[in-house]
Amino acid sequence: MELAIEIENLCKSYPGRMALDNISFSVKKGSIHGFLGPNGAGKSTTMKILSGLIPETSGRFTVNGKVGFLPEHPPVYPNMSVYDYLKFVFSIYAGAVNESRIDEVMSKTGLTDVRSRLIGNLSKGYQQRVGIAQAIIHSPEIIILDEPTVGLDPVAIADIRSLILELKKEHTVLFSSHQLHDVELLCSDITLINRGEIVVSGAIETILGSLKTNMVLKARVQNFSDEQKKKLMNSFAIDAVDVAHDIEQKNTQLKIATKGKADIRAELTRFLVAPEIGLLEFTEERGDLEDLFKRIHE
């Protein structure tokens, strides 16, 4: 597997404080990698080191390719027009202006309509897009985005999300976010950091899978009596069954927590599909990142 970013034992200390303590992780080429952690965990520091803005105290990192970086605050000049700004950013990288590239980036980031407006007059969502545009304008292989969706409305967040997915086709993306929902939707891998130390890093499925100690299954059935509940409890290794009658929909919702890690889904469905119960829906409740976040804090 080709790696885009490789970090080994990276440390960063400020006087009297260790911002990063021996962190190591890697980002696969062509992936979207989520970088999570509470405020002040060291996410921005890591990203600044990777983009070359501040030096590391010790350790080693390799970045295979040019880096485009969107810091926490988009680095824009409020009294420049979008087009002039992108032209300027392009020329301080390349030394010459390639107008077709600027048009291409503007249409990719949805800025064509506002090309001649002053950046200071744009909404926060558009300013963020301008920030992303400046990060990709010099065609970097790797894009680092520091909280690209913070402070935006739900529509703007959805736009930025689809933009990031779009970027995946040509670039490797490393981005940090508090929006756990975003991360679950976008990322194939995640790294979790807390107080300058890596908590866990790897494929999102593996991490979420390892979170589960038992399985929680949700089912919706037509009828469910106390007798059937007893029968269910006796015939399977079940911790608890929560029965709730849904009066509106005239059916019953079950929440079944299993004992241990054994997969009993097949047997359970066979039981529930009986004519007197009548299975309508059956899903597995996945452990999500919110659990993970809560666990770090504990």
Partner: protein
């Protein structure tokens, strides 16, 4: 070639930025009002003084005043250079780009000097008016202008350095002003010493001492050396200040 091209990209952007903000126009208005008034006064006075020439009565004092006023105005022009970039988080953008720190400094320097020269160009009206009255001592006028240009370059270099130290524009301008005025006052304070050699050395380190030669039409080679050293010294200080974020 590419080196200067990138410097000019930044300088052009800075100039466009500055000329689209009201500050420069306010300063220009203030400056021409003050200078026009002073010029008028000197001109009226010189008609009553029969013993002094036009050069002694008008040109020399007016250039002395221009130089003094730029000690106040240059800090106001240079204060935003780095302080504003830091506040907008755009300095990181420049530092991450292919521009070297020195290119950034030179780009900002060129744009700031260009702005000051734009203000200075408003005073070209004075020699024009004098030429109608048959004034002919042009050597002094042009050497005075050369002196002013070199002085404002030095002021701008100090201003850039102070602006790179802070993200507060007011602090940057006050600091520049203090350094410039402090170095001017050094000329006066050497009066207190009886040590001739010390007085000469201290005098040599101040801008007014060198500028004064230019206003008399005397071009001294060591004055050019002084101004070049002054610029290089403050460029290096600014460079160190920009690099200090990596310490």
């Amino acid at each position: 070639m590419i080196y200067t091209k990138k410097v000019m990209i930044l300088a052009r952007k800075e100039l466009k930025d500055s000329f689209s903000s009201p500050l420069i126009y306010v300063l220009c208005g203030l400056f021409s009002l003050m200078m026009g008034w002073l010029f008028f006064n000197y001109l009226i006075q010189s008609t009553q003084m029969t013993t002094t020439t036009m050069t002694q009565g008008v040109i020399t004092p007016i250039f002395g005043n221009i130089n003094f006023i730029f000690v106040f105005l240059c800090p106001l022009i240079t204060m935003r250079s780095f302080a504003e970039e830091k506040r907008q988080f755009t300095l990181d953008l420049l530092l991450r780009s292919d521009l070297t720190e020195m290119q950034i400094i030179l780009g900002k320097f060129i744009s700031n000097v260009a702005m000051v020269l734009f203000m200075l160009s408003l005073t070209l009206l004075f020699p024009l008016i004098l030429s109608f009255s048959g004034y002919s001592d042009w050597g002094v006028v042009w050497s005075s202008y050369l002196g002013i240009v070199l002085s404002v370059m030095a002021y701008t270099a100090v201003g850039l350095f102070c602006s790179s130290l802070t993200d507060n524009q007011i602090v940057a301008s006050l600091l520049t002003f203090c350094i410039l005025l402090g170095s001017m006052l050094m000329v006066i304070s050497v009066n207190a010493t009886n040590n001739y050699l010390l007085a000469l050395i201290v005098q040599y380190t101040t801008i007014p001492f060198h500028y004064e030669g230019f206003t008399r039409g005397v071009l001294k080679s060591y004055s050019f050396v002084y101004f070049i050293c002054y610029l290089v010294f403050f460029f290096l200080l600014t460079l160190k200040s920009l690099q200090s974020r990596k310490w």
